[in-house]
């Protein structure tokens, strides 16, 4: 199978953000970037499918100078090639902007399945996969937790609020990956060395004008200092009356 994985590099989840009054609104100096956690499931799923069926895994990312180096991990994890669509700055872009850039590149490539993480932990929209599928007019299954491919058909499981659904569609298709789908591999030293020989293509691209404008960013309001109790005989009745006062 020819597999395409769209990935993003995001500030790591334990990063402490310093919010700035002007664009780009966050202090990127010393900010650590890594692959978006949900994208790791997408890469792992693609590499597993390649191991079963042969073919290739191409990773595509809309990147900038700060995010570029952390993307190389996709090659160590088993992708054959990395295509970077380079912008001067990747920030909190609209999902449609990103989907259009990805779609333009993907139209030039052969593929059976496109995989993305279900959402990026910085922008948090979880929409790029759906928009990409719509632009390419392909079947789309979101937040997949189980996946198999047989005879050109894809079967995938996903959860909604009130049920778990097993769905089928004909390839080519677009899926997004949810935690629980697989355990992303830790690349060995050998994988990391082998990745150094793999191809990275960098293309400078121009995005369309965005329809959303971030006027400002602010840290969440600090929370009021609460009461700390240590004696259970005091704490338990206190908790009961706290909840009662909240109308529980």
């Amino acid at each position: 199978m020819n597999l395409i994985v769209c990935v993003k590099s995001t500030p790591v989840s334990d990063a402490v953000l310093k919010v700035l009054p002007q664009k780009p609104y966050i202090d990127r100096l010393n900010l650590k970037y890594d692959l978006n956690p949900y994208d790791e499931y997408a890469i792992e799923a693609a590499v597993q499918l390649k191991e079963q069926t042969g073919g290739s895994v191409i990773a595509i990312s809309v990147s900038d100078d700060a995010t570029s180096s952390s993307l190389k991990r996709v090659l160590a994890m088993g992708a054959d090639k990395l295509i970077e669509l380079r912008l001067p700055y990747v920030g909190l872009n609209e999902p449609l902007t990103i989907a259009r850039l990805l779609a333009a590149e993907i139209r030039t490539l052969p593929f059976d399945l496109i995989l993305l993480g279900k959402q990026a932990i910085d922008t948090g929209n979880g929409a790029t996969g759906a928009l990409l599928a719509s632009l390419l007019n392909l079947p789309y299954i979101a937040a997949v937790t189980n996946l198999s491919v047989t005879n050109g058909k894809l079967e995938a499981t996903r959860e909604l609020e009130d049920c778990r659904l097993t769905l089928e569609c004909v390839l080519p298709a677009v899926i997004t990956t949810e935690k629980g789908l697989n355990k992303p591999r830790y690349p060995s030293l050998r994988d990391i060395m082998a990745a150094k020989k793999k191809e990275i293509v960098v293309k400078v691209v121009t995005p369309e004008e965005e329809n959303l404008d971030i006027a400002q960013l602010q840290p969440p309001a600090p929370r009021a200092v609460g009461k700390i109790l240590t004696d259970p005989t005091v704490a338990v009745p206190e908790l009961v009356s706290f909840l009662k006062n909240q109308g529980i």
């Binding site: 989840s13 334990d14 990063a15 402490v16 953000l17 609104y25 966050i26 956690p37 909190l92 609209e94 449609l96 932990i121 910085d122 922008t123 948090g124 929209n125 979880g126 929409a127 719509s134 789309y140 299954i141 979101a142 937790t145 959860e159 609020e161 009130d162 049920c163 778990r164 659904l165 097993t166 769905l167 089928e168 569609c169 935690k179 629980g180 965005e210 329809n211 959303l212 404008d213 971030i214 006027a215 400002q216 960013l217 602010q218 840290p219 969440p220 929370r223 609460g226 009461k227 700390i228 109790l229 240590t230 259970p232 704490a235 908790l239 009961v240 706290f242 909840l243 909240q246 529980i248």
Partner: protein
Amino acid sequence: MNVLVYTTSKNGKLTKASQETLTAGRQLAGIPQSGKLVALIAGNSTSDTQQQAAFFGADIIYTCATRNDLGLPHHFYPILEQIFDKHLPDFTLFPLDIFTHELANILAANKQAVLLHDCLAIKNENGKISFQRPVYGGKALAEVNVVRLPAVVTIRPNALVAASCPVQAECPTFSWVSPDQATNLLIKNVEANASVRPSLTEARIIVAGGRGIKAPENFTLIEELADCLGAAVGASRAIVDAGWVAPTHQVGQTGKAVAPDIYIACGISGAMQHLAGIGSAKHIIAINTDPDAPIFKVASLGIVGDLFEIIPRFIQAWRHNESKSS
């Protein structure tokens, strides 16, 4: 502005999140002068449900079959599109859950609309509309101006306060296209979720467990506390990664961002990415043995103690109290 709001009813009642979203819709419809607020009610509804929608300001109300009967967001989409095409709303709002998240994505993709997810507040400065939404998993709040319309917006449940605004509504009948059509996906199996607990995103109270529960079997204590309070059940990344609890329960930057009135963190130390996901909770209650745990810095009420002692004591006291008052 003309506004379309997708709402759902459960047991003939408009959900709280739907009421909040209608309130947001009413606010937008009033900018700059009175536009129409159209409500689509998905779910078994009666004239009572329609009255509730009118009570929260809907001028035109459509009702249709439950979304569960219709399966996927893809299947429901043609119905939504029918209403969208008829009214061409400037804003289409949804109360955010997994289903509407995808429905909003599909609508935005098909209508080339501007898309904004997980909004917490709406600001109107002399007709200039902006939305507040969390970014970086809740570590920062962005104020976003919408430069072009139409826009599709999802609203996080429990973030806004529903306010009544009774109007005289019209309830036109309409027939919807068959949900079997217009999809390239085949549903092979549906497994209903047997849980009777509220969902994490809509719950008023969440009880969550972390590494402090020490072993997977002890998670039943968290569930017992949750059931005692009618709460949803959450978990920290640590115990999800350890395989103790299903990923659907994970709260935090790499799980669900939540906005309950009360979040009770049991044996959760409060890693940065977890705190980011609970930043919108009105009150955080923490039970932890470590007095230096970061969770205590954000707690309205912190109990330094062993959850294996505190929780059973609390359940006993709560039940005693309940039986006294009933």
